[in-house]
Amino acid sequence: MWPRFRRGARVLEVRDVTKRYDGRAVVNRVSFEVRPGEVFALLGPNGAGKTTLIRMITDILRPDSGTIHLDGQPIDQAKRTIAYLPEERGLYRRSRVIDVLSYYGRLKGMSTRNALEASFGLLKRVELAEWSAKQVQALSKGMQQKLQLCTTLIGSPRLLILDEPFTGLDPLNVQLFEEILHERRASGTTVLLSTHQMSKVEEVCDRALMVNRGHMVLYGPVQEIRRHYADHAVLVRTERVPQGVPGVRAVERFNHEWKLTLEPAASPESVLRSLLERGVGIESFALATLPLEDIFVKVVREGLGLDHGVSGPPTVDELPVVGAAAR
């Protein structure tokens, strides 16, 4: 089990940040915070403003308005403790593997010797030690991705920003990347993960922010988000469901389970109690939550106003922020 973050503390604080290009807001009054040791997901469709937001967090771009703080310091003074693995990433192809990695270490403020030692350690961890003296162009694509991850990890950054880190990796390397993220998280590193792989978000992220057309459309703990968007229904794994259970409006077979749609006034707890009172043997009982991917599609469509003719995405005040911890 991954450690829980300390409530109230924050590593990254983004407040009311706006960025315009040619008069058009690509990021519009976005506010959120990332807490120590958590894995935070930044979600949104293509062109939503995620990359611009990340570039402002990494101080590559300056916001037109709003503030960004890292550990309480303005971002331009604290950026050395951030490491960023962009979606479109490259390496010095004609340089040696060890030279590339130690160069990134030097840029993180390490001495040449420490950078070399740390580089060898990382290469060993990702099983590239024997390639250290080779040119980068001699590495396979997967190996280059591992080296790119190493360039991000060197210098033990406080905040890791990973943009689609799993793209193009084989299952073994995905597992390796996840293990390394576990290790880093255990040692106190905070991770901001931008990905379209919703299953990964469900698996590894504590909280998430979804942006669309530069606006925030969803923000909160991942499990809370899923509960918030769940149908008013429960999934029960059992042999049979008797007729006439109080509070149950409809019963349908759903894979190997039964999906019980509840009356508006009924609660899952009262339905569970009624089932047990009727002697139903229950193997499992859970809220019928939607996969995050379905929530993503639903929220984006609604946010865009495609389904309901809404003129535009909601403002910050209209956001469906879920869970008390999100505020």
Binding site: D59, Y84, Y104, R106
Partner: protein, 432 residues
């Protein structure tokens, strides 16, 4: 603009080391001077060979004399050719001469002479018409014409001059009429007000010194500039910059590159100068050529400012273009501006105080190479105020280029696809 110099030095160190470790760099370091030396030796050798070849081929001259002025002319032409001057020999030692002999064979008419020429019995036919004395017209017929040497024409002209007067004056006077300046020694006032011997070798040194000085300065500026363009274009093309810019600012990255690759340019020229000094040092010493310390100081100032000016522009070009090929298309104009004064070298060396030379040495893109040509030109005395003004203008231009390029660099580094147009670039350059 606040820079972290540890980061700047880390970038500079990487740029320097990765550049000098490349095989292409070693090839350029050794290959460029070797190529120049090879081409120059081939060129000098060819020129000397063409001269002697022209005289060797003129073994028999058929003469059709209708004027009657050369009935008793000498039946032979002797031509002495001195070896081409080289920097490898002391200036006051006479160069060894090579002697060529041409037999003069009279023909009664042009037809028989032409037949002999066609059969290969003779090398050329000289037809002297009746009215030669009044008009000076002669005609020569040859099997082929030498494009690069007029040595045969000069030999024939000397024979004509000598034999025109040989019957009237003594032989010695006739020879002198034919070759009035066998030994022409010129003394020219030098910068210190003394008369300095100007022989062929000295003249060659007078040309070569400013040319080499200016060329080396221009090359040191451009080598660094080209590497800058290449480095930025490569990083942009291979999408490295975004992860770098998370840690190091665009200004620090640019400063590190300028520093590291400027050192590469200076090192290359340093190695060339050192190797050249070792190879030709004794010869240059014998010529009495010395490079004043002030020239070195001025050249260094021009290098720093010229490199900052061109390097900043090259960095900006690398940032706004999408790949190396596109970058080169823009960069070629600035490279041309830097070397343009060398195209006008004879004009600048001949008239170092002309308005053209002064204008070029004040105009920032051509200032470095033009001013070094003017300073090193023989008998030149560039006023100190012109050097100061030229450096000040170049410093101002370098500062503007640096600030504008840093702004363009920051905005353009992460833009891919369409190359921005000039108004867009100017708008970025004005952004704070």
């Amino acid at each position: 603009m606040k820079l972290d110099w540890n980061l700047v030095s880390a970038v500079a160190r990487r740029e320097f080391l990765t550049t000098v470790r490349r095989k292409a760099f070693l090839f350029m370091l050794i290959g460029t001077p070797a190529y120049f030396a090879f081409v120059m030796s081939i060129s000098a050798g060819t020129e000397a060979r063409e001269r002697t070849e022209a005289l060797k081929e003129l073994s028999v001259l058929g003469v059709v004399d209708s004027s009657g002025l050369f009935g008793h002319a000498a039946p032979e032409i002797r031509t002495e050719v001195q070896e081409m001057p080289t920097l490898g020999r002391a200036p006051r030692l006479p160069a060894p001469a090579e002697s060529f002999r041409t037999t003069v064979r009279p023909y009664p008419d042009q037809l028989s002479a032409e037949a002999a020429l066609r059969s290969g019995t003779i090398s050329q036919v000289l037809v002297i018409p009746k009215d030669y004395l009044e008009t000076g017209h002669v005609r020569r017929y040859a099997r082929k014409s030498n494009m690069f040497s007029g040595a045969d024409r000069r030999a024939v002209a000397g024979w004509l001059a000598r034999n025109l007067v040989a019957d009237r004056v003594g032989d010695q006077l006739a020879v002198r009429v034919a070759r009035p300046t066998d030994q022409d020694i010129l003394y020219v006032l030098d910068r210190n007000g003394r008369f300095e011997l100007k022989d062929d070798r000295r003249e060659m040194a007078d040309f070569m010194l400013p040319f080499a000085f200016s060329m080396l300065l221009g090359m040191s500026i451009m080598i660094g500039g080209q590497y800058l363009l290449q480095g930025v274009a490569e990083e942009k093309e291979s999408r490295i910059l975004e992860s770098l810019l998370c840690t190091v600012s665009a200004e620090e990255l640019m400063a590190g590159k300028l520093l590291g690759l400027g050192t590469v340019g200076l090192s290359v020229v340093g190695v060339w100068v050192l190797a050249g000094s070792v190879a030709a040092g004794s010869a240059v010493g014998m010529l009495g050529v010395s490079v004043p310390a002030a020239w070195i100081a001025i050249a260094l100032a021009y290098f720093v400012l010229g490199y900052l000016f061109f390097g900043s522009i090259m960095t900006g070009i690398g940032a706004v273009t999408n790949n190396m090929r596109e970058g080169q298309q823009f960069a070629v104009w600035f490279t041309f501006a830097n070397f343009a004064p060398l195209i006008m070298i004879t004009r600048i060396l001949g008239h170092p105080s002309s308005s053209l030379a002064v204008g070029l040495s004040l105009f920032p893109p051509t200032a470095a190479t033009s001013m070094m040509l003017r300073i090193a030109a023989p008998s030149s005395a560039v006023p100190a105020w012109q050097i100061a003004l030229s450096l000040a203008l170049l410093a101002g231009a370098a500062f503007l280029a640096l600030v504008a390029s840093a702004r363009v660099f920051r905005v353009a580094l992460l833009m891919y696809g369409k190359t921005p147009n000039l108004p867009e670039i100017l708008r970025w350059a004005r952004q704070v």
